[in-house]
Symmetry: C2
Subunit: 345 residues, 2 copies
DNA sequence: TTGTATGCGTTATCAT
DNA sequence: ATGATAACGCATACAA
């Protein structure tokens, strides 16, 4: 089997025109039984496969979705799985590109996908992304785009995200309920809106409980275990150290945990800790870490569904924004008051 | 900006032929300065971007690599990062598809990519894959393919993998050195060649140390924490239970750890444990788990390099097989004899 | 230096 | 029921 057989090859061998072959192959109804059989047989024999590239050029679409994500850690790859599932079902192929949290990389990826092959985009922004011209570029080119998870409000597009404020609120209220008074916040990268929304939830919970905000207890830092570790060390070195920490991602919570252990502080008695994402690691460490679970798989599925809907309908969906709810999972790191059957597994 | 501008649009506006425009755009040397300037200016103004689809059809290549992986867990996404890095550098775009350890899914993915857009493949097989006709299909179609990590010896293709036998040998010898006598093996899926190679290393180490093989201590199981947990429970329930376990993946080692802790056995004193992959979780749990670290990032890079080389040269690389070495990382779970400065961090 | 014609593989339109 | 032709967007051999 040397080269891919084309419609022409079949046509030539059978002494018919390419149009006839094309019709026969696609079961159009105005073609003689004999001819069709002959065509089908030969196609089978030559292992004929339609050249999608040619079709793409003709139809001006590729049935491919470009998915741009900042990385492929546990949560994000769960989201991607969700996208994958829905997209495949709908006959779309998915191209995943990681920007590695780099703005430059994100631009290169976007440009490449844009220039070539994708019908549209599902995007979650990198930490590093402040300018969003490359995204607007996509929109200028009339390619549909759905933003998910890490979103910028300066972009007008259909959006799917979780209720970040709720997440911050859930975690912080829980800590307050458990009797913690000086609650620190490892707040993630300041550039990221999601960080600020989670902080809003944190602030709301404090306010509702008449706890004064101490700016020194709010630390912006990368989604990064090491950074969180050092930040926590500093927190613990304060004259009046915090008695609890909410980290807006489990990676950071784990960094915090390491610093806490190093200081020989006991969780939850000396200090409480809550993370976010329900990373499997939080169940493995000692003590197990309480966390806010976001519906990552669902989030991915929803984003893909929205994308498909946008492709199929002509209506403007730029104003749509779907917000998914979270779930607090209480584990050892923050459970001072023992209510055994409430202890999350 | 309504629709993408084409060469035709520019040609029409400027009253020149499309070929002239094409040449001007690509800086070919037989075009008048004036014309070029005019073309460039208008192209800029219209935000002209060459239609890659058309180019692909013309050139019969897409500069896209289809990467098929069984999932996107920690190790594999590290490998993918390696592939990404090299591929991007070489001007290739990467399409990542996860088969979710499903043979059926792998086939669908392969077929889609094959039919459409990719110039070739870099593939790691799913656990579930015993038949490899879909891969042979790729080869029949003369598309280059590199196999990496999870490889089948029934396929003739360039291959990149780690020295799995060495890995098994390193882990097992280490356990023997530490004085363990009855070493169990959580061996991974039997279908996977890599499982068997790691077992070979295990067997070799036992033999070298005149330890009789006890078949009851060898358990094949999925790359799966839960399965490993149950398998370990059974091992620990034996009349003569093992005094050490080598799990060929950290996920499984963690399952084993949970079973061991549940039985209140002490690591490393009552029982030793070594995993593989250097999953970050192994450093977080108590006790920290010894592991065999494979060069995942390097593996990905090497696979991509091999792919690029294959694309650029015409020589047959089917016989090439690159084998990368591993590194034993000793941590608390298997370190009975204390040599402080040898303790891996 | 520039234009014309042809082809990449396919489908759609219009004839026959 | 089938064939010829144009078109998708671009590059290139050949002509001028």
């Amino acid at each position: 089997m040397e080269k891919q057989a084309t419609i022409k090859d079949i046509a030539k061998t059978l002494n018919v025109s390419t149009s006839t072959v094309s019709r026969a192959l696609r079961n159009t109804h105005d073609v003689k039984q004999e001819t069709r059989k002959a065509v089908m047989a030969l196609a089978e024999q030559l292992n004929y496969q339609p050249n999608q590239l040619a079709l793409h050029l003709l139809k001006k679409q590729t049935h491919t979705i470009g998915v741009i994500v900042p990385n492929l850690d546990y949560v994000i790859s769960t989201m991607v799985k969700g996208i994958d599932e829905v997209a495949l079902e709908a006959g779309y192929t998915v191209m995943v590109c990681q920007s590695n949290e780099s703005y430059g990389r994100e631009i290169v990826n976007t440009k490449r996908l844009l220039d070539s092959l994708v019908d549209g985009f599902i995007v979650s922004l990198s930490c590093d992304t402040t300018e969003v011209d490359h995204i607007k570029n996509i929109q200028d080119r009339k390619k549909p785009i759905v933003l998910f998870d890490r979103i910028s409000s300066s972009l007008i597009a259909p959006k799917v995200k979780i209720d970040n404020e709720e997440a911050g609120y859930l975690a912080t209220s829980h800590l307050i309920e458990q009797g913690y008074k000086r609650i620190a916040l490892l707040a993630g990268p300041k550039k990221l809106e999601l960080s600020n929304h989670r902080m809003d939830g944190y602030l709301k919970a404090l306010k509702e409980n008449n706890i004064k905000v101490d700016k020194d207890l709010i630390i912006f830092c990368d989604f990064n275990q090491d950074y969180a570790y050092f930040a926590t060390k500093e927190l613990l070195a304060m004259k009046r150290r915090p008695d609890a920490i909410f980290a807006i991602a489990d990676k950071m919570a784990i960094g915090a945990m390491l610093a806490i252990k190093e200081k020989k502080l006991n969780m939850p008695n000396d200090i409480g800790l809550v993370g976010m994402n329900n990373d499997p690691a939080t169940r493995l460490v000692t003590p197990t870490i309480s966390t806010v679970e976001m519906p990552a798989f669902e989030l991915g599925k929803t984003a893909a569904k929205m994308f498909i809907e946008m492709m199929h309908s002509e209506k403007d969906m730029n104003e749509e924004e779907i917000v998914l709810k979270n779930k607090l999972i209480i584990r050892e790191s923050s459970q001072k008051i023992l209510v055994p059957n409430k202890l999350g597994k």
